[in-house]
């Protein structure tokens, strides 16, 4: 939980609103994509982005309301703690797959392949080059390793 001291320290550092953490990337046609920890996204025009980061955004603008509702910024007079609570809840939901540990295992049992895809990372071998096959002993160990996962989906 964010403390009152932390909250007031962060809020007092900017005006008239404060940005919340986000990442951005430029797209064609003068658009900038914003994404944040809550999994929200928004496309802004370049001039809107510049207004955002220079704290000159028109507070009555609909985009400003979008930015606020999607947790890209928070009004100064608003309390920061409940906003962080909400984002943390969304973040936890988005990352909920982590609590189930690894449930998908991909096993490469051979490097022999009849394709030659340019993007392949596996350094494929000729179809009759059997030295690249996984042997029985290793295969058993792989299966044992997979069943050691705490994931409830693998029993």
């Amino acid at each position: 939980m964010i403390s009152d001291n932390q909250s007031s320290e962060i809020l007092s550092s900017v005006s008239p609103y404060m940005c919340l953490p986000f990442r951005f990337m430029r797209f064609p046609k003068q658009k900038i994509l914003l994404v944040n920890e809550a999994g929200e996204f928004l496309l802004l025009k370049t001039e809107e982005f510049e207004q955002l980061i220079s704290f000159n955004f028109d507070l009555q603008n609909d985009i400003y309301k979008d930015l606020k509702s999607k947790h890209f910024l928070v009004d100064l007079e608003a309390s920061l703690a409940p906003v962080i609570d909400l984002i943390a809840t969304k973040y936890r939901t988005k990352k909920s797959f982590l609590k189930n540990f690894t449930s998908l295992h991909m096993v490469v049992v051979t490097l022999r392949c009849n394709h030659r895809c340019d993007y392949c990372h596996a350094s494929s071998k000729d179809m009759d080059d059997r030295q690249w096959d996984m042997n029985t002993e290793t295969s058993r160990k792989v299966v044992e390793m997979i069943f050691q996962t705490p994931s409830p989906f693998i029993k």
Binding site: M1, I2, I10, P21, F24, E37, I87, A88, T89, Y91
Partner: protein
């Protein structure tokens, strides 16, 4: 663009950046993005400026217009990288709080407060 100057010489373009505006990590991150198409050399020019030379790789020859466009793209990229650093230094602490709070165990006191009773109470 504020704090940025460019000059073409010997088929490569020099972008001079004012250290007052751009941090080393922003310059490196922006330069790395162009390293697929250009040989990139970064060196200090004087106490206040750092120079970034962009030289097209063999087979990727460019005219003056292309070089200027690449320098323009680099300038935008270094600006974006610096904005990312500024935002992170200003609000990175909030990101850490969000992640910490998201995975913090719920205390019995908090649970009791929300439920109005202890979880095992009938």
């Amino acid at each position: 663009m504020k704090g940025i100057f460019t000059k073409i010489e010997d088929g490569k373009i020099l972008v001079s950046l004012n250290k007052e505006f751009y941090e080393k990590s922003a310059v490196f991150a922006a330069a790395h993005k162009l390293s697929g198409r250009f040989g990139v050399l970064i060196e200090p020019l004087d106490e206040r400026t750092v120079g970034v030379y962009l030289q097209p790789k063999p087979g990727n020859e460019m005219n003056e217009g292309d070089l200027n466009e690449a320098a323009f793209d680099f300038c935008n990229e270094v600006l974006d990288q610096q904005i990312r650093l500024d935002l992170e230094s200003r609000y990175g602490v909030i990101r850490e709080i969000i992640v910490k709070q998201a995975f913090a165990p719920v205390s019995l006191a908090e649970l009791t407060e929300v439920l109005g009773k202890e979880p095992n109470d009938k």
